[in-house]
Symmetry: C3
Subunit: 117 residues, 3 copies
């Protein structure tokens, strides 16, 4: 079976498709600055995910799994506010959310998803 990679730099691919599944890299708000709210960061992350899924010919109604990393679990409600407004009632993935420091101080939420293509 073919592996299709896209949006690759020298380090990783933002998206890999294989055997009916699209895997996305961990998405952080690419435009974030220190002090941006988790609500806004999450909205931007989810918009980035929409863009990649569209590029793979699928969308959020076909999500399989989500892993959410928050730099501070006290922002769980803010993240969920953006998440709940975004997910499709007919396309709810499994999910796990844990606290973890991320790769830059301007990033407070990172989301990894897989979806069916």
């Amino acid at each position: 079976m073919e592996i299709v990679r896209s949006n690759s730099n020298a380090r990783m691919s933002q998206m890999v498709v294989y055997n009916g599944v699209v895997y996305l890299a961990g998405q952080v708000d690419e435009t974030s600055q220190i002090g941006r709210s988790v609500l806004e960061q999450t909205r931007n992350v989810l918009a980035q995910i929409d863009g990649y899924l569209a590029q793979a010919g699928t969308d959020k109604t076909r999500l399989l799994t989500a892993t959410i990393y928050l730099s501070d679990m006290s922002q769980f409600a803010q993240m969920n506010q953006a998440w709940d407004a975004w997910v499709s009632p007919q396309g709810l993935p499994t999910r796990a959310t844990v606290q973890a420091k991320l790769a830059g101080a301007e990033f407070d939420v990172e989301i990894v998803v897989t979806a069916a293509v």
Copy 2:
């Protein structure tokens, strides 16, 4: 290929089946209270996993992967005590265990598994 979702609320599904794989949401001990031991929490989490796998028509002998989050790595041995008593010698999944704060103070262990259906 069809996606089958179950035990969904407005936010996520506890289980998604696609292309021969069942994905479970991160399982915490749903009945936990602050102060409950990691040993007991882990036993309860694993019982919940058994229940979901049965619902998907599979069981722990067909586990593929497990990711375990512990709120305090000093409880690694307690978690393993419950894990080692539970896993099937013929069905050992891959595993990764890391420390991470979880979504509620009453939760000290969260386990994400995938299995073949």
Copy 3:
């Protein structure tokens, strides 16, 4: 579909192959000692991954995903130095990197990968 497990002990398998995908357990530098640099640990982890992938009849050019746990995100650049020298430009997986305390004080980096077989 058959599940093939290998390098199993009483707790987990280091590798599981199913439906065209090989899943590896979280790899830490098995020979690590406290004080070993993240650069060296990462090189050893990636060599271990090469070994398991070879055993499964595949290699790093067919990587799908990577999840990287660092005990201290300030070592991100050191990890990347080893990573960037290792990955294949034609086989770049998706990736997510977060900070998490690992199962032993001698381990500062743990990597979980999946690959196509």
